[in-house]
Symmetry: none
Subunit: 499 residues, 2 copies
Amino acid sequence: MSNQTKYELYKNHLERIADVRYSGAVLNWDQEVNMPKKGAAQRGRQLATLAGIAHELSVSEELGALLEDLVNANDLGAVQLKNVQESYQDYTKQKKYSKAFVEKMSMTITKAFHAWNAAKKESNFALFQQDLSDLVDIKLEEAELLGYENHPYNALLDQYEPGATVAFLDPLFEGVKTNCVRLLEKVNSKQQPVIPFKGKKFDKDAQWPIGIKLLEQMQYDFEAGRQDLSSHPFTTNFGSLDVRVTTRINEDDPLDMISSCIHEGGHALYEQGLLPENYGLPSGEYISLGVHESQSRLWENNVGRSLEFWQCNFPLMQQYFPKEMEGCTAQDVFHSANEVTPSLIRIQADELTYHFHILIRYEIEKAILTKSVKVADLPALWNELYLKYLGVKVPSDAQGVLQDIHWSHGSFGYFPTYSLGSFYAAQYFNQAEKEISGLKSMIKAGNLLPLKQWLNQNIHQYGKQYSADELCRKVTGESLNVAVFMQYMEEKLGRVYGF
Amino acid sequence: MSNQTKYELYKNHLERIADVRYSGAVLNWDQEVNMPKKGAAQRGRQLATLAGIAHELSVSEELGALLEDLVNANDLGAVQLKNVQESYQDYTKQKKYSKAFVEKMSMTITKAFHAWNAAKKESNFALFQQDLSDLVDIKLEEAELLGYENHPYNALLDQYEPGATVAFLDPLFEGVKTNCVRLLEKVNSKQQPVIPFKGKKFDKDAQWPIGIKLLEQMQYDFEAGRQDLSSHPFTTNFGSLDVRVTTRINEDDPLDMISSCIHEGGHALYEQGLLPENYGLPSGEYISLGVHESQSRLWENNVGRSLEFWQCNFPLMQQYFPKEMEGCTAQDVFHSANEVTPSLIRIQADELTYHFHILIRYEIEKAILTKSVKVADLPALWNELYLKYLGVKVPSDAQGVLQDIHWSHGSFGYFPTYSLGSFYAAQYFNQAEKEISGLKSMIKAGNLLPLKQWLNQNIHQYGKQYSADELCRKVTGESLNVAVFMQYMEEKLGRVYGF
């Protein structure tokens, strides 16, 4: 059998795995958006069965044999070879998990998730403590099983951000910390801007079309996607031709829905920008969570919180909220979107202090994985760090250490990708500005197509053909450079706060 | 291993198959209700893969070995044994399909469905002809592979209505034809009733809550289901705890949506009435399409087109359409719901002439499957038969041979089950009237719970524990008897037309 024939078999196999995984994604989407309440248990077993089948397919002997042959082939195209290498790496990793371990982990997570839900409801960390401790143990077991150098955290980071390590993140976050502290001091020395529309009510039904129009302006393709409501906004996809976003609406703050729409829209443009012919293959999949987040943050922050964006879209606000916007200007919305206020809850944080939330989680994750801190002491540590970095007193576990869902899913190593997303976003946007002449005027004119096309061409279309670092160097000429983010923040906050 | 242990393994296996099949149903529902247009091709392959996996599981050697042992076990309970027997029969049948054939058929159907959509849009049968011809060929291939006596159509009929054959249906339909022709002549000799609200416009948004309220009145459980809009109303389910209905709204005729809601609601009550503990097992599945249709028709026609039903629900019409209903009575709606007018479109047909539509399709299906008629000649044959039986001239393919979705899904042998449904419905409703004293007064009072419970207890809860014929005899004391339907029609039309 020729290597090209084997490659076709390998491709078919991966497409089948994608079919099952994407089917699970449809069931998940439906669960969040449509499912009636009594359907939960039957849906749970359907999802578990699909996950099991996808796993079986991804560790099949047949796939292994094809990959063993193809990974050493010298007559494949460059993209083909890269696909095979990525798949082989993934296959080797998947093979390290025994069925018993997968089942144990799945049970530990399910149990922990329920415990976290109960603990959060009662705002009592003690109810989650033992389960969190079990999760840490099983995640350490997973790190051993996967193998790592220097720090067990590296094995876990690698699952979300291939290549990221403690050695890479430590100095990076140290720099961010110093700079953010300095910038926050500057902001704190100034008056907060006055936002005339604060405290007004913004009707749900009137907000909805604004979100749709902004997605259209971003060139989100509604023929290959749709927007719905759900309790937590998310993006999901079933291939690159059906990429869905959800949002939620807060009547006290229209920028809540607007920024979440643009954020999810940015994720969605990445998925819609992957090439349909690469369905199921590494070249048809996103690079890392950090790069994915760079796409959502670039749109949400670099575009959607810019003065030019609001100069363009303020009339839209006036159209749907003529009374509420009376006496306001584009400048007011720009200020509102960029107000810096240290606060308790990560997902409500502003663009600057957000990174303190991540820093805190990063430090805690390292500490519990090396057992240098006991799980029982987490709430105290959490509260201490929030006071130190953000200057806020945490009034309850629910608003503190229990606020995020991630740990209850065993997702240690996930949080840093959020910050990486912001840093990559600043660097990519900076590069786009250099290459698209008049980009800011285009944003002001509502012409976002050139930016979307630039991202399609420079980032989206490649899928996993490059690593996060390779792509960053290819597009911007250098590796991740936090200085670009810090400069962007300094400039923008200077405009808002007048320094 | 004890037979009880083997039975547990068999049960787990069937539950897994159900998980995959119901996952496919979620993807199908989503395709009809939500999917953006560009998602079609990737969705098609996802559905094909799931169908392939469900098939693999349902013909696995492991399942076969369990069934071989269990089908001869003498220490299983009666329901367990019946489950095993049904599954063994199904297994033997499924074994006849190769994986390649199943996937080919799924792809052919997806392609044909899109061709039919385009052909119907342009009202041009030629655009569908080749795909229909391919479908006929693959269905004949299927009939050969399944095996049959006397007529290839029998193999296909059996898939929808186990036990039904041409030899059974030919005389049955001959009798129905004679009686319906006679009754239609009687109707034609009378004046049509005057319907004062005819020609008025009924706003979509005002119609919607009427449908919801009628479903609630029928005791459809909205915590285990939901209603949405789709171009063709349907019911689907993913277990008995998530049973969904769809409808569509015609502003020229509110009874269109109302009857479709009640119809789909009747289907849904059957699925919601299956026992959750029988998930995936024959005892948790409907008997046949004919019996399924008996449940939708019983509600749609025997209940929903009765004078008592409209005496109860006319105020609902007045509430949402006060102006449009001015000067009208419950009697007027009752007349409108039962007006007999030979027409072009099956799904808009009245309760009497409906069966001519089925007769025509039955004759055509027999003819194309024996190749005594060429696919290319179908439009001409269709138009000829409509003139002959219904006295109507077919003005276009869209309103003629392309009107139904069924053939585009390869569903030959499906249509007869619609008529069987009406006949069973009349017989079951007749029995319910005997057993529930004051049923008609209850309907008039909007108290539909006793009827729903009677159906739950006498029909729904058993799943496939009885065949269609066994159940009919168990509940009504005799096999299918078309005279009950004819008498019901004669009586009702006598009330409407005054004979």
